[in-house]
Symmetry: C2
Subunit: 246 residues, 2 copies
């Protein structure tokens, strides 16, 4: 029963008047970001750090948070969206990771690298401690690769069902992630690799909690985020994952 368009491979015809969207990918000096146009947040941000990246005299006082004009206005977060929201403009690629270059540091201030984060107790505290820890890894390891992103995790409610719930702020409905993840692959000069994967709630966190309390299986981040992380490296090729032999 052949129809006029019944053969496979008609994608060109079906899509004739435009593609609704593909994940927005942006390559900056110090990081690569995939932008989530629906949530007006990064999907993920990837960095490669060495001890030379995190050293330098770049000055964050010279940086301003700025709209990413490569993003269509419908999907672009603005500084106005954050005003009086109660949330910090939290970097996913941290500014201080890119002290070696004023341009690279400035690039981290694009709002496409920013998520709304709880300020006190999170962005300025526990999450910042995790970022400092990552920079410290560049002293021990030749190469440090980091993937950072937001999560929107479900919770069981009193009706026994699971729900995802998150606030959206500003006129552009910028999503406030419930959690953030950081997955870190570190390479020694012998090419040995270790992996660590962290999830923290976007909430005030007790500053006495050690970072290792936030280690989670990387698979749980992959399932929740819809992303495959460091999938070019077989898991059993890592010398350690979250401190243990895989």
């Amino acid at each position: 029963m052949p129809g006029p368009q019944s053969s496979p491979g008609k994608a060109g015809q079906i899509m004739r008047y435009g593609f609704p969207g593909l994940t927005d990918l942006k390559s900056r000096e110090g990081y690569v970001v995939s932008y989530d146009r629906r949530n007006r947040n990064p999907h993920w941000v990837f960095e490669h750090l060495t001890s030379a990246h995190v050293r330098g005299d770049s000055d964050r006082q010279q940086c301003d948070f700025k709209e990413d004009e490569t993003i269509h206005p419908y999907f672009r977060a603005t500084n106005w969206d954050f005003k009086r929201s109660g949330y910090d403009r939290g970097h996913l690629a941290a500014a201080a990771n890119h002290r070696h270059s004023q341009t690279a540091m400035g690039d981290t201030f694009y709002l496409s690298n920013i998520s709304p984060q709880v300020g006190e107790g999170f962005n300025r505290d526990a999450w910042n401690r995790l970022e400092m820890y990552v920079r410290g890894l560049t002293k021990q390891f030749n190469n440090v690769y980091i993937c950072t992103g937001p999560l929107y995790l479900p919770r069981k409610e009193v009706d026994g069902k699971m729900y995802v719930k998150y606030e959206v702020i500003g006129r552009n409905h910028v999503a406030v992630p419930t959690h953030f993840f950081k997955v870190i692959a570190c390479e020694t000069n012998k090419g040995e690799l270790i992996l660590e994967s962290y999830v923290m709630p976007n909430a005030k966190i007790d500053n006495n909690l050690p970072l290792k309390n936030f280690l989670v299986p990387v698979e749980s981040i992959e399932r929740a985020s819809g992303l495959l992380l460091f999938d070019r490296i077989p898991r059993n090729a890592f010398k350690a994952i979250n401190g243990r032999q895989p």
Copy 2:
């Protein structure tokens, strides 16, 4: 202050150990789908219909809902996820749009073309009426292009803030969209184009409500979905949008 990796264009180095994800695109006989790995739902499904597509003796009794094995198991919806969830497995590309070919109809039963939909009053009623209306358009128009997708719309809560909230079902946390959209571009034999854009809540809908009550500006769908729809056609090139001259 040059660092060893400070020049732009280092994406290949930064991304050395794998790309976390790009929007999954699948081209089937009758439709193209972009899959949302985080929500285990389609992002959007595109169809091109003519009167010849919707005619035929293909039999949906011969079709079974099936996992899409091209999707990584972490992100794949399964029939089990829908069991006892209370939701129908709702087609985004409707099965009956592809009566001309048993293969094309069968392809609409991949769970990557399916979202959890309220059954009575929605999937089996109002949404079905919208689908029948779309098939009817192929009698009037030479070519009908349809983009269908889920929405996760925010609502204001009693605290005055806006929240997105949706259920997730099954072991794989398949998201239950709050709404669905359908944007339809119809082409006459003179090449004239009209556009209609609908949003319906994923809820029991009064069957007496006419379809035109669900017309919304296409821009509102674009903003909420993060998608640009029919963007290869300038809006003022349409003879009518939602029944009015643009």
